[in-house]
């Protein structure tokens, strides 16, 4: 094939097929350029830059919604770097909805000010593009670039409040841990790419079989004696460490409480939901890529360990997050440990999926899709309840200039809207029955029950998850105790809180938490979508 033919093929693939499916990312890119231009021609004196960012985010959301409506079969974009499927579209829609909500929150709460607006929104949108690459990655290079494109702007956003000691310390800790783990992950990627001779994630499983086929040297199925396979397993552990860092799983969680405490509440909320959701989508894709379509003999040796290993990490993470949250006095730090615990619960769903997808249980694929459905549902409810909690923290900070739980005394009575919103969000985070968090936890625990038939260890994970749910009630109640039971100290100024626009925002965010819980048939559409997305991903396999 000569050069012209290759070039023509590339142009056809890019312009004809790929760019159209890449439209929501492109919209965000154009918005970033627009933000920088607005600053260049000093338009931002008259037109607050959040309008540009908000419009761009809404346009991207609309484009993603159109893609969701059209549906369409799975295809590969940009010569196989990205995969375009229902799962990816759902997560893009999820991330863009969240982006719109976060921009609206920053507009209401006033961080950043108009001077810093263009910088902040450029970083926010850039991080979101990175997350969108993560959820549709089909190549180890894109996996790495997506994670880095998300991380690098996040480091800056964490340290965005200039001249504050805590903020600069948090950013430094985050960037040092993050850069170190990124290097380790890249080394893992280099080993895996070298051993398998490809960076394409959809070929990983196939190539692993080639390593084990009789023609290869050392046709030995056991991990212990096949050096190549051993290297691949080591490489996949190093890559998982990178993803685990984004998910703040134990033992890669150190950055999370520090970064959240030092960062503005808006940024902490963004990181806690968006980067977790993107990392979970990436983890699911990576795990399924390791399994491949037809796992055969390898499954007993490697994949079961992978599923059970994820289960162990999930149980430890949930327990650690909940235990560490008890003694916290700062609300953002408490919520940070709570997000660590929730990452543990959600990882249980991934573990159940990995155990099920290869098992000989009846309807294994369907049950694996059920586990994935639980994860998607949980993430969706988690978006609203966690964003709600962080938004209320931001609004209260604007009033009392404090984020210590003891300073919240009696606030529930003085700002009823914020107080009730907090009650809803925290009870949903616990998993109390009338709220959305309950159904989400129920779905994940149900898939753990299914997974237990394939490997009884998953029942142990289920028991630990159940116990954690009960124990987590105590520290969430401590916040509500401060807000409602403890009286407001004498002489402290009365909190003036207007319903518009902050209260309306809280209502808008907490309403879905209530709706997904109160009307078991309302979330039907959400759970339908979740199950459709999950089934398509698993059945493609």
């Amino acid at each position: 094939m000569n050069f012209d033919a290759i070039l023509e093929k590339l142009i056809n693939d890019t312009v004809g097929q790929s760019l159209g499916h890449f439209s929501s990312e492109l919209a965000l890119c154009v918005t970033i350029v627009g933000l920088l231009l607005v600053r260049l021609v000093s338009l931002d004196r008259w037109l607050p830059t959040y309008w540009v960012a908000l419009l761009g985010a809404i346009a991207a959301f609309g484009l993603a919604a159109c893609q969701m409506k059209q549906g369409g079969a799975t295809q590969f974009l940009f010569t196989g770097l990205l995969v375009y499927d229902q799962f990816g579209i759902f997560f893009r829609l999820f991330l863009l909805l969240f982006l719109v909500l976060v921009i609206a929150l920053t507009v209401i709460s006033g961080i950043p000010d108009n001077e810093d607006g263009p910088d902040f929104y450029t970083l926010l949108l850039g991080a979101t593009i990175g997350m969108m690459l993560m959820v549709s990655a089909n190549n180890l290079l894109i996996l790495f670039l997506g994670i880095e494109m998300t991380s690098v702007p996040s480091y800056v956003m964490v340290g965005f409040l200039k001249g504050r000691k805590l903020s600069s310390e948090a950013a430094l800790k985050y960037v040092i841990y993050g850069a170190g783990i990124a290097g380790v992950m890249l080394y893992g990627i280099s080993l895996m790419a070298g051993m398998l001779g490809t960076t394409d994630m959809s070929l990983i499983a196939e190539r692993m079989h080639l390593l084990l086929s009789p023609e290869a040297d050392g046709a030995d199925l056991s991990v212990r004696s096949n050096a190549m396979l051993r290297t691949v397993v080591l490489a996949s552990l190093l890559i998982s460490a990178g993803v685990a860092f984004k998910l703040s799983l134990v033992p890669f969680h150190f950055w999370c409480p520090d970064a959240f405490e030092g960062a503005p509440a808006e940024v902490a909320g963004f990181l806690s939901v968006a980067s977790k959701a993107a990392a979970f989508a990436l983890l699911v894709r990576f795990c399924l890529a390791l399994v491949g379509k037809d796992s055969g003999a390898l499954s007993e040796h490697v994949y079961l360990y992978l599923g059970v290993g994820l289960g162990v990490v999930a149980a430890i993470t949930a327990t650690f997050g909940n235990l560490a949250a008890y003694s916290q006095t700062n609300i953002k730090r408490l919520l940070a440990y709570s997000t660590i615990a929730h990452a543990g619960y959600m990882l249980m769903a991934v573990a159940a999926m990995m155990v099920l997808v290869n098992s000989d249980v009846a309807d294994a694929k369907l049950k694996a899709a059920g586990a994935l459905e639980g994860l998607i549902y949980y993430l969706t409810v988690y978006l609203f309840m966690n964003l709600g909690a962080f938004a209320i923290v931001a609004f209260i900070r604007n009033q009392i200039l404090s984020e210590e739980i003891k300073d919240y005394a009696g606030l529930g009575w003085q700002a009823p809207c914020l107080g009730i919103g907090m009650v809803f969000c925290l009870f949903s985070l616990v998993g109390m029955p009338p709220f959305g968090g309950f159904f989400a936890k129920l779905m994940i625990f149900k898939s753990l029950v299914d997974a237990g038939y394939a490997n009884p260890f998953m029942w142990v994970v289920l028991a630990i998850g159940g116990l954690n749910t009960v124990f987590s009630l105590i520290y969430y109640l401590r916040v509500l105790n401060a807000m409602y039971i403890v009286p407001r100290p004498e002489g402290s100024p009365r909190v003036k809180f207007d319903f518009l626009p902050a209260g309306a925002y809280v209502v808008m965010v907490t309403l879905p938490v209530l709706l997904t819980g109160f009307f078991p048939y309302f979330p039907d559409r959400l759970s339908d979508t979740a199950s459709r997305v999950a089934n398509m991903l698993i059945s493609n396999f």
């Binding site: 850069a179 990124a182 890249l186 070298g194 960076t199």
Partner: protein, 102 residues
């Protein structure tokens, strides 16, 4: 002696281990970032060596080019954050950042 794939991989592994040790022992933020650069370049040597000697082909070189660009971006951000830390603490000793704990 013929230089082959394994020799390059050993160089990459040595760089990786040096980088990890550097990250673990240095208390100066700039020193830690230098360790990160060593780790990234160890991985880069792996990529280029694999691209020369295995079926990975040109993909390996493309990845290493991307990594070089990305390392520059990350270094820029990390140095800016280190400078911000210095402005607030008058030191870049990471052990002095001990206000966030618990």
């Amino acid at each position: 002696m013929d230089i082959g794939l394994n020799h390059y991989l050993v160089v990459g592994a040595v760089l990786f281990v040096c980088g990890i040790i550097c990250m673990a022992t240095k208390r100066n933020a700039i020193g830690i970032l230098m360790g990160v650069e060593l780790v990234l370049n160890g991985a880069n040597i792996n990529f280029v060596a694999f691209s020369r000697y295995t079926a990975l082909g040109l993909d390996g070189q493309i990845v290493s080019l991307f990594v070089i660009v990305l390392a520059a971006a990350e270094a820029a951000v990390a140095l800016a954050i280190a400078l911000n830390f210095y402005n607030n603490h008058l030191t870049i000793d990471v052990d002095r950042g001990d206000e966030l704990a618990g």
